[in-house]
């Protein structure tokens, strides 16, 4: 029971973190048709900016300033580079965000080195929030969940209840009409891209010291959020939420399960002969297979339900 609850909570917090990232990605994709390959790079920048800022002005101001700074970077990139290639279609757009991710990685490594940086938790977030059955649930993880939920609420509020949100929703499917109505669609694009970058950075700020901050963090989480978006259905925020939680929870559970197919067969009375070519595959525990699970999910979804869990947009 305790394993279940703790794993569930950990899985939820990881899943919510994934959602923070994939929500921005989905918004940018729905809005502009651009798949932002550099989204995870903004996440990484957020963590590093917060690390640098927390050393000078402290963590809590960094929580606000770092996402804003990265948002500015994103907006500048949209203005200077993305806009230029927009007219050539989606492939060049994807390529330029890919190039950006390359550059960000290099610059980050240049400034902060290739190793893990000691981006630590502030005093208020250290220690356990509560202790359940002898296992601690850290305050930092709960904080990640809190920030994620607040972010989700804020996005929903902005989109549904404000004027700019209405414009964004309209421009989501009919950008030309919205522009014809006099709205500055390019500016809205810049806002959405910058906003998406800021959201990713916020995720980085809170996740960077809860997990680890190093140059490989972008690549590690980058491919998973693409899986989330494909599994959830391109262009669906609800789908991204569902997929994030699903993948987060499943992967957290899987990492803790030390059972392999061989064990299951053994329980049924069948022993796996040593030396047979399938032996190693059968002896793989679920924990060892865990890194592969999100991608397996994606392939299964593509075979059985190609539009994703809640996909609406026909690509």
């Amino acid at each position: 029971m305790e394993f279940f609850t703790i794993s569930l909570l950990n899985g939820l917090s990881y899943g919510l973190m994934l959602f923070m990232l994939s929500s921005g990605l989905t918004l940018i994709f729905s809005m502009m048709g651009v798949l932002n390959f550099a989204h995870a790079s903004f996440y990484m920048l957020g963590a590093y900016f917060a690390f640098a800022l927390s050393q000078s002005v402290g963590y809590w101001p960094a929580l606000l300033i770092a996402p804003l700074a990265v948002g500015l970077v994103g907006a500048a990139f949209e203005q200077l580079c993305l806009r230029r290639v927009h007219k050539w279609g989606h492939v060049p757009e994807l390529l330029i965000t890919f190039g950006l991710s390359y550059l960000v990685l290099e610059v980050v490594q240049l400034i902060w080195g290739r190793n893990v940086v000691p981006y630590g938790l502030p005093d208020q977030l250290q220690g356990p929030l509560f202790t359940l059955y002898g296992t601690q649930f850290p305050k930092s993880r709960a904080f990640v969940m809190l920030v994620a939920v607040l972010m989700l609420g804020a996005i929903w509020l902005v989109l549904q209840r404000t004027r700019i949100g209405l414009v964004i929703q309209a421009a989501l499917t009919h950008p030309d009409t919205v522009q014809a109505l006099g709205h500055n669609v390019p500016r809205v694009f810049m806002l959405v891209f910058g906003g998406g970058a800021a959201l990713a950075a916020l995720a980085g700020v809170v996740a960077g010291n809860t997990y680890v901050t190093e140059p490989a963090m972008a690549y590690a989480v980058g491919s998973i959020i693409f899986v989330v978006v494909v599994v959830g259905g391109m262009g669906s925020l609800a789908g991204a939420f569902l997929a994030s939680i699903l993948i987060g929870v499943v992967q957290t559970f899987a990492v803790a399960i030390d059972v392999s197919l061989a064990d299951l067969l053994g329980a049924a009375g069948l022993k796996v002969a040593s030396g047979n070519p399938m032996e190693q595959a059968l002896r793989l525990t679920v924990a060892q297979v865990a890194p592969m699970l999100p991608y397996l999910f994606m392939v299964l979804i593509l075979i059985f339900r190609p539009r994703g869990l809640m996909g609406t947009r026909e690509d």
Binding site: V85, L94, L95, Y102, L110, S223, M234, Y295, L296, L302
Partner: protein
């Protein structure tokens, strides 16, 4: 896909004869063993990049997982050599790349089926996910895929083939060169077949392709399998060249990214673009990486600038000039080109000085603050070199901006003249 350079039979003979001549003569012109190594790498990378462009340039399918097919092709070759060597079967090395190709094609069948149901951005993401899946899978089974140490082979296994052992690099080079020529010819031939042309049509307008009777998914899937075959051949040659297969490296996303980057740099809109890309890839990874620690940064910058200002890559830049020369108008740009080159040189000088100094401070600060830059010694601890570099870079940037604008204007005018001439003539280049 423009083939205007090769529409005449004479042009065709020249091009293919030229390629054969270059492949044969290259080791005699560049004689060092380093050069031979680089030429060998270029040989199979040409096959790989061309196979990649079959997907991207010809089919509009942007793949982030091409290393799966090259890597598994390499794996098949290594496994086959291990088996053949261990069991004393007579299967010559010259046929091993075909084993790799078969593996690539085989794996493309299921993976392609799943990927090609969607196009565009979804396809790209699926390819990324599948790439990660395969890498994770391979790492999980070290018994099968060799683990951290990889699987080594000896390419001189078995009896010599007609007196050739393939031990010396020069012998392997000619094997690679032969495959390079044949595969290039085959892939070029593909572009002139119904499937090849329909692939272009599906790229341009998948809906219209449906409405002329074609199942677009099948067109993409079949082409995917063909690309997978050639990728496997290239990958097999690569592993044979280095005599080792390492799952984490050969199948990695980084490698896929490199194929993408350099194929794009070479140019995706012309058939020969990826060949240039392959050459650039070897030059950068072998030579540039030795010259400067900042080579990845330079690469990234060039890539982004290419997308923004020359999305057709180096090949398109070459062809634009060829077209201008054919119309007899290239001469007038001599002065502007000179000025542009100068301006770019200034900008690059200043910018790279800055980058080199930053890199030095970050990576080699322990050695001291002196940076060796183009024969000069810059003391990065003092302010002077920084100011100088910034100044040069700024002047260069301004110059590029000004000259570039004038250049673009003149170029545009020349283009208009060509168009007008064509309208009158009723023909087109």
């Amino acid at each position: 896909m423009s083939a205007s350079t090769m529409t005449t039979a004479r042009g065709r003979w020249l091009a293919w004869g030229g390629l054969a001549a270059v492949l044969i003569a290259a080791p005699w012109i560049f004689r060092s063993s380093l050069a031979l190594n680089m030429l060998s790498q270029m040989g199979y990378l040409i096959i790989i990049c061309l196979s990649y462009n079959l997907l991207l340039g010809q089919g509009g399918m942007l793949s982030f997982g091409h290393a799966v097919f090259t890597g598994l092709g390499g794996y098949a070759a290594v496994a086959a050599i291990g088996y053949v060597d261990g069991h004393g079967v007579a299967f010559p090395l010259v046929l091993m790349p075909l084993v790799g190709g078969l593996m690539g094609a085989l794996v493309s069948v299921p993976l392609g089926y799943v990927s090609t149901r969607k196009a565009g951005t979804t396809f790209a993401m699926i390819s990324l996910g599948i790439g990660e899946l395969v890498v994770a899978f391979a790492i999980m089974l070290p018994d099968l895929f060799g683990g951290d140490g990889g699987i080594s082979i000896n390419r001189t296994y078995g009896k010599p083939w007609g007196g050739i052992t393939f031990g010396p690099q020069i012998q392997l080079y000619y094997l690679i060169a032969a495959y390079c020529f044949i595969c290039t010819a085959l892939m070029y031939a593909f572009t002139a077949t119904p499937l090849g042309r329909m692939l272009n049509a599906v790229r341009d307008n998948p809906e219209r392709a449906q409405f002329v009777g074609y199942n677009t998914q099948l067109v993409r899937w079949y082409s995917f399998i063909i690309a997978g075959f050639f990728a496997g051949v290239g990958g097999a040659l690569g592993t044979i060249n280095f005599e080792i297969f390492n799952a984490a490296d050969s199948l990695s996303g980084m490698r896929s990214g490199a194929y993408l980057l350099f194929t794009f740099l070479g140019g995706v809109t012309f058939f020969f673009g990826p060949m240039i890309g392959a050459v650039l890839m070897v030059l950068c990874t072998v030579l540039l990486s030795e010259i400067t620690a900042a080579w990845l940064l330079y690469l990234g910058l060039v890539f982004v600038l290419m997308i923004m200002y020359a999305p057709g890559g180096v090949a398109s830049l070459i062809m634009m000039n060829v077209r201008m020369a054919r119309a007899g108008k290239l001469g007038r740009f001599a002065g502007l080109y000179g000025a542009l080159v100068l301006a770019c040189a200034l900008l690059m000088l200043g910018a790279s000085a800055l980058i080199e100094m930053i890199y030095h401070m970050q990576l080699n600060a322990a050695i001291g603050s002196e940076v060796k830059y183009l024969g000069m010694r810059l003391d990065a601890a003092t302010v002077a070199p920084w100011l100088g570099a910034v100044a040069v870079a700024l002047i260069g940037a301004l110059a590029v901006h000004q000259v570039g604008r004038r250049f673009a204007h003149a170029w545009g005018k020349a283009q208009e003249e060509i168009e007008a001439g064509l309208q009158h003539g009723g023909q087109t280049a």
